[in-house]
């Protein structure tokens, strides 16, 4: 249950009420908002005169539910707004991993030259083998920050586990919670304490409901700037790396109030399919795309097969613009 308290209830009193009914307490648009589990269906008698409005839910998707807030939430990434009535589809590009200053500057220049605003690049790689390249870690974060300073780009990178989440919050403009880390409460709870946008990737074995509930961890802790990201399910099909779940995207758009960004690169696993899949995504009227591009994919230290080279990335953008326009969106 979500409860909006009346404006004459001050923050301290709201806090006490929250504690009394074991609810989360956040300040949202200047209002004191309490959130309990969805099992609670009636406002406790003793606070009934302090309640301005309340909502009940069939399950624990509450703050993220369209039944609570019917429009899509706005999230600002630097100067770019997605969601709301912005009709913006943000195209986030960059390499799988930050590998060197030259490489990441090359990527940054690509984006700037195309009028794009947001650079991705992994620093803490969630590799499944200890013997693979694990990312540059803090050094990588510093390179991303340097690109931000040089080019005015926003940067986004992924938290692999809770040991470095604070560094990522400090250094980036958007915090990415990786597909393998999205159940990690150490990360989610830390993200709740900042007000930077948090992009939560759906795990490859994660239900839509669980993804929405991961967002609830961040939102009920006080940070409502959450973006959902679909990047492919693990299915029996091995001809492609994963299976991008666009039915799930339709579900998210219908049932949640959060912006949705898609990652066709990881889903497909092969560069050849990325442009057509990206067009498919854009035709759904989505809020953004994550596309992996590398100055020279053949020497990439991770995900070599799925990264576009820079010419392919430019072609992809050329192909996306008319599709976006055909559904009333623009690529930013």
């Amino acid at each position: 249950m979500i409860i909006h308290l009346r404006s004459n209830v001050n923050k301290q009193e709201a806090s006490q009420i929250a504690e009394g009914i074991k609810a989360f307490h956040i300040i949202s648009n200047g209002k004191n908002v309490l959130i309990t589990g969805s099992g609670i269906k009636e406002v406790p008698e003793f606070i009934s005169d302090k309640v301005d409005a309340f909502w009940t839910f069939p399950n624990d998707m509450q703050l993220a539910s369209r039944n609570y807030l019917s429009e899509t939430r706005k999230v600002k990434i630097g100067n770019v707004t997605i969601g709301g009535d912005s009709k913006n589809t943000i195209l986030i590009g960059g390499p799988c991993s930050v590998e060197s200053e030259d490489q990441i500057r090359n990527s940054a220049q690509l984006l700037v030259g195309l009028g794009l605003t947001t650079l991705r690049g992994g620093c803490y790689k969630p590799r499944t083998s200890p013997y693979s390249f694990q990312g540059l870690g803090l050094d990588g974060l510093k390179l991303l920050a340097k690109m931000r300073d040089e080019f005015g780009l926003n940067v986004i990178t992924e938290a692999r586990d809770a040991t470095h989440i604070q560094e990522i919050i400090d250094y980036t403009d958007v915090i990415q919670v990786g597909a393998k880390a999205m159940y990690d409460q150490g990360i989610l709870r830390a993200c709740a304490k900042t007000n930077k946008p948090v992009l939560i990737k759906r795990g490859f074995g994660t239900t839509l409901q669980e993804l929405a509930q991961a967002a609830e961890f961040v939102m009920s802790g006080g940070n409502e700037n959450v973006i959902l990201c679909e990047r492919g399910l693990r299915t029996f099909e091995t001809g492609t790396r994963f299976t991008l779940d666009l039915c799930g995207v339709a579900w998210m758009q219908e049932h949640t109030n959060l912006p949705v960004i898609l990652d066709p690169s990881h889903a497909m696993g092969y560069a050849y399919g990325v442009p057509s899949l990206a067009r498919a995504c854009v035709a759904m009227g989505i809020d953004g795309l994550l596309i992996e591009a590398h100055p020279d994919p053949s020497v990439a230290k991770s995900d070599a097969s799925q990264q576009l080279n820079h010419n392919q990335f430019r072609d992809l953008l050329d192909g996306l613009k008319p599709v976006a326009q055909s559904v009333g969106y623009k690529i930013v």
Copy 2:
């Protein structure tokens, strides 16, 4: 291995050679073509002087492979051509099941009014319970044929099992092999004996490779007019009915030479998601769409939740046209 025999080898001789090397023998574009298993990598010595060209393959996707034929095959559905360089996306509409003459005429009129050409409607429903509506059977086929006569529409319906495949071949313009029936060799071998187009739906537990090999059953038997259809995988996600595999579509477009038609209605299972998914499909530059629409979905005898009503179908078409145009295709 695929072998093109020289033009001076006549049909009878070709047949004898085929028997000798246990190959399939078809006449394709006037040529005698032999097909063996892909394990064969070298042309048998004794026919080497009769061979015009040959192709080897890493697996049993051969006639359907782009390595054999680099352009997409053309398939004619009535007056409409898909594949090749046609840049046509055929929109096939109609109800899940043929229920009555009034109902199916209503559907036919919808299509005609919108300038569309091909009507779908199930007659033999592959229900999983014996206690559900099983379709009108032959009576349904006759109603479809009547609509063809009245309105000049092409009709397509699904074969559930081999007991009625000949009726379906006789009555329809496109033979649909259902998702649950696509391993059925009784059906596939019968489809090989006609030259009508055959649309093979991918089973919800079927790999891309197996789908391509189902096509090989029909093609190696002599009918190369095969269309592949993706209609959703069965995954762990239960928020939607199935998971439409657009990564798989990218794979089919890259690796096979067959036209690809998509069925977002069955994948989604809910009408709300069908229009945006259909736009996603069209943005990939596909050859067709199957969309379920019913004059009044609330009373439909099967798949009530996923069928569009006729106003929704008109809106869907309006939304698809600009997307098709943005990728250089047109809806027909």
Copy 3:
């Protein structure tokens, strides 16, 4: 709903009632039994005085449900009874495919020498490629029949599609409906017309509920001698061929009244895992096992990697006996 009519209602009258209420009508243990869809929750007024007992169900698993019949049904395979209180686990052995008279006789001799009773061997192979070995067809059936005559063994083989189901019914003692064919109503309806035991394999993408409903097709058509068979699901895991679903077996044992036979050979796909998996199956108190064994797996025309050789088969049986005994069963 299942309705038992009173003993003073004769067969003809029962038939008329069934037609009137669109119910299936079978004779079961001498009783007239009607079965409608599970949506029907109340006995029609006009027959209320002809009803001896009735059962309602939450879904279309009815005749197969333990809520209808609490004990496991008995099924006779030749002289061997499984189910009921028999505590028998029947071990069915033999090659993947019948390849030659020598080979299948060798298999038959193995079984006879071990005191086993039932021989398996595929004649119509549901191969996914037209270029693979497709089985000996009717010639294979005749070889199986010959082994029955020579050795007094029961034989079981698989129907691939409806075109040859009658031959299989005629030639075998147990009709196997294959995993890829289990939605095939042409097969299921034909099986309903015989009284021979029917073993229905669960498709690799089939839910437990759907498997039970496939049984309902056969049972509601008049043949209650149905056996369920679990043989592995298709999952994302590729280290093994399929994933044997023993949770599903526990579900079947709890919710259905049908005997359950398991096929660890197909699930595993590798001979090395078959003996330990077979022990696992037997420890659950199951009604039977299907195990693939070949005189020389290295030359088998199908499924070479998962077939045991005959020494391995003997060792497997030695290993199973004490496990069966430990749960109060015996291997027959």
Copy 4:
């Protein structure tokens, strides 16, 4: 590649070599052992005279591979040894969550009364909703430690994320890495720094290869006391909570040298199936079982439906003993 250095190479020199070739360096059974990625197939020339033996591998399962060490590794849990030639199957019992001192003492007494040695109980619950019971945290750990002191039991609990991994290492005898946390390098790297046994649960969307590689993170960091745990895959089947992968267990037993413990409770999700599944597991000759039992499951704060009550747990143990004996194992 794994390299055993000669005994005349001291630890410091080994360390320098490791750094030079970017290898991990551990001391194993008194030997200096280096581990590089599996891509390395030849011993670097400059150390060839310092190498005692080396092994190459087709992939990054190396220390965990039977090709490196053919016998199963021994792991000691308190006084109990599993693996090696012990033929012990350890039965670990206790509630899903530690809820109160009374409750966990009740559980401890159950185990002691049955001669069992190891108590489980969750303190940091990896719930998917922020509004559910999240576990008692450190207070729960202290209760487990109290039970150890009172009853001489070993205790095991699960790490949810890296923020509390050190507490868990400090308080428990076996560190459990949860199914949702098993890619968490913050946890895995911390586990590598202790020598306590680490039980790694396979994620419900995790391949066998990835599970083995999670073990490699711990082992290559210096802690070889790793146990693998299968607890069910997430598949399309919703009749049961997950799908226990016993084919995968056969794979682990064939390909890895690590002890294997199974968790049928989480896989099944319903108490009714746990005893028969547990028997199936034991019949495979496994190293242990995790079984959830609660003094009163009906009031449990998590996983109420799958926990056995104490009478059911006693019956389960009675049923397991003869099965274990039939395969030459004993329950400890």
